[in-house]
Symmetry: C2
Subunit: 158 residues, 2 copies
Amino acid sequence: MLPRSYEDQTCSIAGSLALIGDRWTLLVLRDVFLRLSRFDEIQRDLGIARNVLSDRLGRLVSAGVLERRVYQRRPARSEYRLTDKGRDLWPVLVSLLQWGDRYVYGGRPPLVLRHRDCGGELTAWRACAACGAQLGPRDVEARPGPAASPALRAKLAS
Amino acid sequence: MLPRSYEDQTCSIAGSLALIGDRWTLLVLRDVFLRLSRFDEIQRDLGIARNVLSDRLGRLVSAGVLERRVYQRRPARSEYRLTDKGRDLWPVLVSLLQWGDRYVYGGRPPLVLRHRDCGGELTAWRACAACGAQLGPRDVEARPGPAASPALRAKLAS
């Protein structure tokens, strides 16, 4: 836990981080944006302990970022969907992705976001590089990039 | 520490978070973007333990996000500046800020970023709401918003 002074800052960045700043949380959200929705899918993808994932998902539901739906009764199984509040976190994930593409992967990204309609790449301004449309999370599809691992290719194909 | 599997993911988001995903780190960067540059200024502003701040600054320098300059010899005192790589993290901080403005502060933000030239507010697409120019970190100034605390007002005035 960060000390209390952290949460006491009058700051929208600190406030956002208090809700979603845990690193596992951001990777859980990444997976939900990539349309993994079931507990077991996310757990397998992240290799995260079940109790940790359960905690993080519970916090995201409490914060109104995800909603839980039971899709099977016996045994009980839930899936998780982004709310509007959650979908509005897309720029946070896109900006982390683009910085990492450039500075961690040297411009050879594992994953590329393309405009569903015309195939243009997503720019740093969240527009389509080909047609110029401003894009949101529903307008893009994730494709393997030059640095995609076999596991990432399999995940994006499924 | 997050388990090793975290760092092993082939993912630009995970890669970015491995470098800057610690919450204190993002608040240190926020302060440097707000032109706090000296160890003691940042330490006072965050109320963070000196050894923790020293560790986080050292990591940011090692990662090439900040550069350290000695501005006084006896006693030795350093200041920290963003490199180009660090300045390129601006979209990450802006997106966290804007989400927090909306969902943590209900649209009454503590701090508002305005286009230096014409005073227009920064949009969600990092453009000026008044003149339409695309903006970067050097094009904006931070002004107190409706939810600014007295401490934040003093910080922005100095």
